[in-house]
Symmetry: C7
Subunit: 98 residues, 7 copies
């Protein structure tokens, strides 16, 4: 089966304080197929911090993203959202979500 | 009776943890008539997870979407929203919804 | 008195589970004067489901919409909103609605 | 004193169930100076229903709108909002409204 | 000191029921330098009603607006917001407003 | 060190009732480098009123703004927000603000 | 490993009252690679104030931003959000954030 392009991944990640999110965002954003990355702090604890990582691009290679995060000593808690295909589709809010 | 094109389907799906949403979104997004897919995690349980799948395209074939989901060992709990026709119509919020 | 064009109708409909909203949206969207339809599930009961149907087009024929819904074994509970005229006018929220 | 053009009127109207809002919206939308009408149900009672009517156009004649509503056996409870002038001005929300 | 142009004024006004807001909005919208007016009902009492009047234009003359309102037997309770200058500046919401 | 241009300042100001916000907004909007001003009433007390002043322009001179406000007998309680640089940057809301 | 461009940084900073945010925003906005800065007051205490600093540009040098803040006698409490890459990616809100 052919495989389509990943346009966006939203990740819930637990990481040590170092490397910081400035450095981690730069490492992720140079990966092939990635056009930009946002990392936002969700919660800070004594030794770790929970961050939300949004990766966007034309053809994200998920394994590369995983590897970069692992190399930084961080752990992906969950993949919260994925958009794949020829164009980026957003999650649609329906009556049941309100 | 002629049949018009499905432009968007929003599904409430219960799935095992594997395949993950990265893999499932890629399988769905290569279906004919599909231009993009978003899968977002709604709730995670021990053996399963509830996800919301949004499929958009010019002429989605619902049976193909159903088959791909079933092949992944997942179950469609409900079809929450469908848009069909020559162009994509959004749900309109009225005074009664507020 | 001349009669103007209906551009959008929002309906509160009670329907049996079959036909599903995929099938019903396709039947409605092929009606003359209709350019697109959205059907969203509001509530699911044992034998029936309440859905919100939004029909948009350049010149919707209300009787045709009614007939398609009746043929599907469904009942229009209420017509919640109608837009008619040369262009589609949205409901305006005023201070009194907040 | 010269009189400027009315671009939008929002009305709170009490009406009998017949004629329905599909028919009433069509009657209002063919009035001179009117380009479109939205009627949304606010509350349904046994013999009557409260609706919000939004009329937009380049030069709405308020008396014509009043007459059409009266002919339908309905009563204008209040004129909730009016926009007049060379262009349509929206109500602006200020700090005091929040 | 030179004086710049008023682009928008938002007024909190107490008025008798007559003239109605249709008539008052038309009187205000024909003033020189005014391009449009919105009047929205905030609260209705037995003999009076509180309305919010939004006046927009390229060079509003505040005294003319005041006079038109006074001639209608109404009273300006407060001038809630003013935008002046070469272009219309909106109120900006900051962290402290949330 | 070179100094860049101020594009927007948001001020929390305590002022006497006179001059009113119409007059004050006009004085501020004619200052060099200012393209527009919004003044919105936040709270009215017996002898004073608290207002939010938003000044926008290509190169606002803060001292001039301060002087105009002081000349009006008003006091700057706080400078709530400043945008400076080649283009106007908005405050970004992050997960921590929600 | 190559390093990509930082497009936006959002900082939580504790600073003395002097220099004020007008002066600090100007110093930050002249740094190389920075196109604009917003500083918004979050909380004011007796000797210090907590501010949110949003820096945007084509290639922000984080060390320069840090140095400018330190020179102003201020302390970065946390880097709340970073966007890096060829284009600015925003944090995406998912079902889990609502």
């Amino acid at each position: 089966m052919s495989v389509s392009d990943i346009k966006r991944i939203v990740l819930d990640v637990l990481k040590p304080h170092h490397p910081g999110i400035v450095e981690l965002s730069q490492h992720l954003s140079v990966l092939e197929g990635v056009s930009g990355v946002n990392i936002t702090i969700i919660e800070v604890d004594q030794d770790t911090e929970t961050v939300k990582i949004t990766v966007e691009g034309n053809a994200i290679v998920f394994e590369d993203v995983e590897n970069s995060i692992t190399e930084a000593g961080a752990v992906i808690h969950s993949v919260d959202s994925v958009s794949a295909g020829k164009r980026l589709v957003e999650e649609v809010e329906t009556s049941q979500d309100r």
